[in-house]
């Protein structure tokens, strides 16, 4: 790859985009206008919010008049100003009476006879019909929005107040509990009504403490009697820290969304647009390599992505500063809650994180856009892209999610969390610092490779619009099937396995009642192996390939030395895998539920009728099913990618994915690479099945060995196993076995490896000679 060409293409694409009015509008003009416009509408809305006055219907309020000792509650169609936190809030609640609704007046007045929970039983039967009539009237008013809440003081409430006061003054137990209490009616389905109810409640609470205070004073009890002390929480966070906590959640999400949007439109224009305008073919006939074209375009998209994000940030910052300044003048936003602009350091971190993120988004967008035939089709791909990336960016915003090794490995989420920690001023351990960046870079490379792949596929570059007819397409799939599955079919098989597995695991967990016994375990394993893994792979092999034997690597008779070597690798890898699992468990502790599940399986296996039955269930069946699926169908499909190591690694990642627990996933991925290599080199599935089966049965045998060594320290096995609990291989054993396993794997090198057509072509290209004729 020549960087001179990349730079040439980059400069041309930049110039081209800058001459495009649409692009300029999206990246430069839109952000400048967007936030001031949003700001304007926000101000309009706040005005609406402030001007809003709620109406409260008060029934039975008159009985509160003429009690001279009672603090004032109602005052001239409003609640008393003293009952509000700020006197100007008094106008936000307007009081109306039953008289204001002549048609319903009669029914509303019946509310005075409403029963409350505190009221004594043995009411007259007629109150029930009264209650229903009142409820109807109140509901009518609330539903039509004529009032936001109804406050009822039932007849007898005054007596209750008097009784309480009397009991206090005379220092004797009262019987006020039997007397009615006020009721607030509201409609929780209506936000406005709910808000009004809260306000009214607040007012009544204040009034209640006023009443208490008056009563206490009258009975010569100090007011402090009701509240001997006050709780005074003290927030030790400094203003900047509080701000950082807020910004750390908002800013990464905001910037990343704009980085994605900013990448998408230029990407569509640079790929699908060029295809549409016919200039892509012109470029493809120039000496520029596909890789150079992809890099040139990628850098352009990246530039636009970061500029869009930065401009939006700047525009938001300027508008935000203005808005914040204004908001801090509104009394409702207390000074201590007022936001200020994010600190400079956080902006620096944001800028630094923007580079890998925009690279990742650009590569993704470019690959999607390369797939599209036209700009219109390109636009369709934005939605799926958003659907995939959004949850990953939203997850870090949910409370309680913090950066740890597990989620630092999740693409996007890890980086967002790292960024959040940095903005908050926490500097994580180097491991947590590097992991998200490494994962992002890896994803970037994969996405770039995918984009390059799109540019190398003529079916993508010269796709002609063909009517999509599902029936014909299915016929075409079966009629024109290849000898082995295509790359896409391999990926589809993995997707189907994952989907079926999801549904079956949910169904199994629902039907699984009571403790796990051997029968239930056997059923679960058989169902998940046969239905989730074996069936999709076998069906797809039969329907989609012309040579099932070749697809599943069953055509060749395995060589004895390959079988021996596979068995050797299985035995020698075991110590390595056990050590690795232990190490992973140290770094990322096993969850309690996982451990309980593992214990449950272990005890269920102990209930097997015979040791060999357990081996059959745990080792032989999975080895057969999983090998047919992953080293058979999936790997055969993925090998069309043109490089065996890519195929091996991708198939083992898929193999890891279908395992339920994290530790199993990592373990399976590592073993997947080993078995995949054996499959490619030996060209036969049998060594793989042997290796896999032996590996699984060793887990079972280990438990027996462990028991033996722990019982007798002089046992021959003690030389390789440490006598500690849980039982572990000695480090020396691990190292020796690891080396020996590598040597055995090395013996597979140059075996009867049969390269695919794509692999031969790739090799021929790298050597620059003519391709092998007979493929």
């Amino acid at each position: 790859m020549q960087w001179k060409n990349v730079s040439l293409i980059y400069h041309r694409e930049m110039r081209d985009q800058l001459r495009d009015r649409r692009t300029l509008f999206l990246i430069a003009v839109l952000p400048l206008l967007l936030y001031p416009l949003l700001g304007t509408s926000f101000f309009q809305l706040t005005q609406f919010l402030r001007d809003h006055t709620a109406k409260v219907l008060v029934v039975g309020g008159r009985q509160l008049h003429g009690v001279d000792w009672l603090p004032k509650l109602l005052d001239d169609g409003r609640f008393d100003a003293a009952l509000f936190e700020r006197p100007d809030q008094r106008d936000s609640l307007e009081l109306v009476s039953a008289r204001d609704f002549p048609a319903l007046e009669q029914d509303l007045r019946k509310g005075k006879r409403l029963r409350t929970e505190g009221a004594a039983d043995g009411q007259l039967p007629e109150t029930e019909t009264d209650e229903a009539a009142f409820d109807n009237a109140a509901r009518q008013l609330l539903d039509s929005g004529q009032v936001e809440a109804v406050l009822v003081f039932p007849t007898g409430f005054k007596e209750r107040l008097r009784e309480v006061r009397r009991a206090l003054l005379e220092r004797q137990a009262g019987d006020a509990a039997d007397l009615p209490e006020p009721i607030i009616l509201f409609n929780s389905a209506n936000d406005k009504s709910q808000l009004t109810q809260l306000r009214v409640e607040q007012v009544l609470r204040r009034w209640r403490s006023d009443v208490t205070e008056v009563n206490l004073t009258a009975s010569d009890v100090p007011v402090e009697a009701t509240s001997p002390f006050e709780l005074r929480p003290r927030d030790m966070a400094e203003a900047e820290q509080r701000q950082a906590a807020v910004w750390s959640k908002i800013l990464p999400f905001f910037v990343f969304i704009w980085a994605l949007t900013g990448a998408f439109y230029p990407a569509v224009d640079l790929c699908a647009g060029e295809k549409e305008r016919g200039t892509l073919e012109t470029l493809l006939t120039s000496p520029a390599l596909r890789r150079e074209i992809v890099w040139g375009k990628l850098l352009t998209v990246m530039t636009f992505s970061s500029i869009t994000a930065l401009l939006n940030l700047a525009s938001l910052g300027l508008t935000g500063k203005f808005v914040i300044d204004q908001l801090s003048q509104i009394p409702a936003f207390g000074q201590e809650h007022a936001l200020s602009l994010p600190p400079a350091v956080s902006l620096l971190w944001l800028g630094a994180a923007l580079i890998p993120i925009s690279a990742l988004f650009s590569a993704l967008c470019l690959a999607c856009a390369a797939l599209a035939r036209s700009t219109k089709e390109g636009q369709y791909y934005l939605m799926p892209l958003m659907l995939v990336t959004m949850p990953l960016m939203m997850l870090p915003m949910s409370p309680g999610v913090e950066l740890n090794l597990g989620n630092s490995l999740v693409p996007l989420t890890g980086l967002t969390l790292l960024l959040r920690a940095l903005i908050e001023g926490q500097y994580p351990a180097p491991g947590l610092f590097i992991a998200p960046i490494a994962v992002t870079c890896l994803c970037c490379l994969l996405a770039i490779r995918w984009a390059e792949e799109q540019f190398n596929r003529e079916s993508v570059l010269f796709r002609e619009s063909e009517r999509l007819e599902l029936g014909r397409w299915l016929v075409h799939l079966v009629r024109d099937r290849g000898e082995t599955p295509s790359f896409a079919q391999g990926v589809l098989c993995v997707a189907i396995i994952l989907v079926v597995q999801f549904f079956i695991s949910v169904a199994l967990s629902v039907h699984q009642g009571g403790p796990l016994d051997f029968g239930a375990l056997a059923r679960a394993v058989l169902i998940s192996q046969l239905a989730c893994i074996f069936a999709p792979a076998a069906l797809m092999t039969i329907v989609l390939t012309r040579r099932p034997g070749r697809t599943l690597l069953l055509e060749r008779t395995p060589l004895w030395r390959h079988l021996w070597a596979a068995a050797g690798v299985a035995l020698l890898m075991h110590p390595v895998v056990v050590r690795l699992a232990e190490h992973i468990a140290k770094v990322y502790p096993i969850a309690k539920e996982t451990e309980a599940a593992a214990k449950g399986i272990e005890s269920a296996l102990a209930g097997a009728p015979h040791f060999l039955v357990a081996v059959l269930l745990i080792a032989v069946v999975p080895a057969l099913c999983e090998e047919i699926a992953f080293r058979g169908f999936v790997l055969s499909g993925l090998r069309h990618v043109g490089h065996k190591w890519w195929a091996i690694v991708l198939s083992s990642v898929a193999f890891g994915l279908v395992h339920p627990f994290l530790h199993q996933k990592i373990n399976a991925t590592v073993m997947g690479v080993v078995i995949g290599y054996v499959a490619v080199q030996s060209g036969s599935l049998w060594p793989c099945i042997l290796l896999h089966g032996l590996h699984n049965s060793l887990q079972l045998v280990m438990q027996h060995c462990a028991a033996a060594v722990q019982a007798d320290a002089q046992h021959p096995l003690a030389y390789i196993l440490g006598g500690e609990s849980p039982l572990l291989y000695r480090p020396l054993t691990v190292a020796a076995c690891g080396l020996a396993a590598l040597a055995m794997l090395w013996s597979f090198r140059g075996a009867s490896y049969r390269p695919t057509r794509e692999e031969q072509l790739e090799t021929a290209r790298q050597r620059g000679d003519a391709p092998l004729a007979a493929v």
Binding site: N5, L8, I9, R12, R15, D16, R19, D20, R277, G278, T279, E281, T282, L284, T285, S286, P287, A288, L289, E458, S459, L461, F462, E466, E469, R472, W473, H476, R479, D480, L761, A764, R765, R767, G768, D769, A770, P771
Partner: protein, 253 residues
């Protein structure tokens, strides 16, 4: 200069199953000649030339361009050819000068030789007045000129023209044919595909008649006329094609 060996291209097609666009096509074109691919629409001409320009991969067979294999050394092949077709458009948001300069640089030309070469080309193709005109504002004829300048800016020994006169008016088509003839006289190896008899007759030193992806006959206009005992190329063409259609029909039966 160009040696196509058993080029075969099979496309997957939803309706028809595997569709053979090219079948075992072999031919050789040398320097100083215009080799014509003559065939009706859908004969496989564009597929063949796209394979020669390395944007498509053959299903079987290969081709050598200037000694480089199109399958394994595509980058070297692209350096030594100039490719122009009805599908290769010019950039809308670039001027004629910028466009040709851009491709000159992609072909690895140094600043000064590139400038001299471009001045020469712009003069010879009478493009000085569209020098600073954006592609979007050009007429079809102007765009075609820019495409020619773009294809020959690096002075390649091999030139491939795929239906290059499609959609051009008589005047522009005529000047394009003249330009191709001049290039031949400069000693270039030229492959020229068309479905227009007169163009083939006038321009091509040797002609291959292609139909349904197969080479039916090859030779100069005179040779073809004599071999098939017909008064002109059009009759030869029609004769060959209707014979093949008949053969295919009986074969299918």
């Amino acid at each position: 200069m160009i040696e196509a060996r058993h080029l075969t291209k099979v496309y997957a097609d939803l309706h028809r199953g595997p569709f053979v666009a090219l079948e075992n096509l072999s031919f050789t074109a040398t320097r100083g000649e215009v080799y014509g691919l003559l065939g009706p629409n859908g004969a496989g001409k564009t597929t063949a030339l796209r394979i020669l320009s390395t944007v498509l991969q053959p299903t079987h067979g290969t081709a050598l361009v200037n000694g480089f294999d199109v399958v394994t050394r595509p980058a070297q092949v692209r350096k030594t050819i100039g490719f122009m077709s009805a599908n290769t458009a010019v950039y809308d948001r670039m001027t004629a000068w910028e466009m040709v300069e851009y491709f000159g640089r992609l072909y690895g030309m140094e600043d000064e030789p590139l400038r001299q070469r471009m001045e020469l080309l712009f003069e010879r193709l009478k493009m000085q007045e569209i020098r600073d005109l954006l592609g979007a504002k050009m007429s079809t004829g102007m765009k075609q000129k820019v495409s020619i300048a773009r294809a020959i800016v690096h002075d390649p020994p091999v030139l491939i023209f795929d239906e290059a006169t499609n959609g051009l008016d008589v005047l522009v088509a005529r000047s394009l044919l003249q330009a191709v003839a001049e290039l031949r006289d400069q000693g270039k190896c030229i492959v020229f595909s068309t479905h227009i008899m007169r163009e083939a007759e006038r321009l091509c030193d040797r002609i291959a008649i292609v139909h349904h992806g197969r080479l039916l006959a090859e030779g100069s206009v005179e040779e073809l006329r004599d071999r098939y005992n017909q008064p002109d190329l059009e009759e030869v063409f029609f004769d060959l094609i209707s014979n093949q259609e008949k053969e295919l029909a009986t074969g299918n039966r």
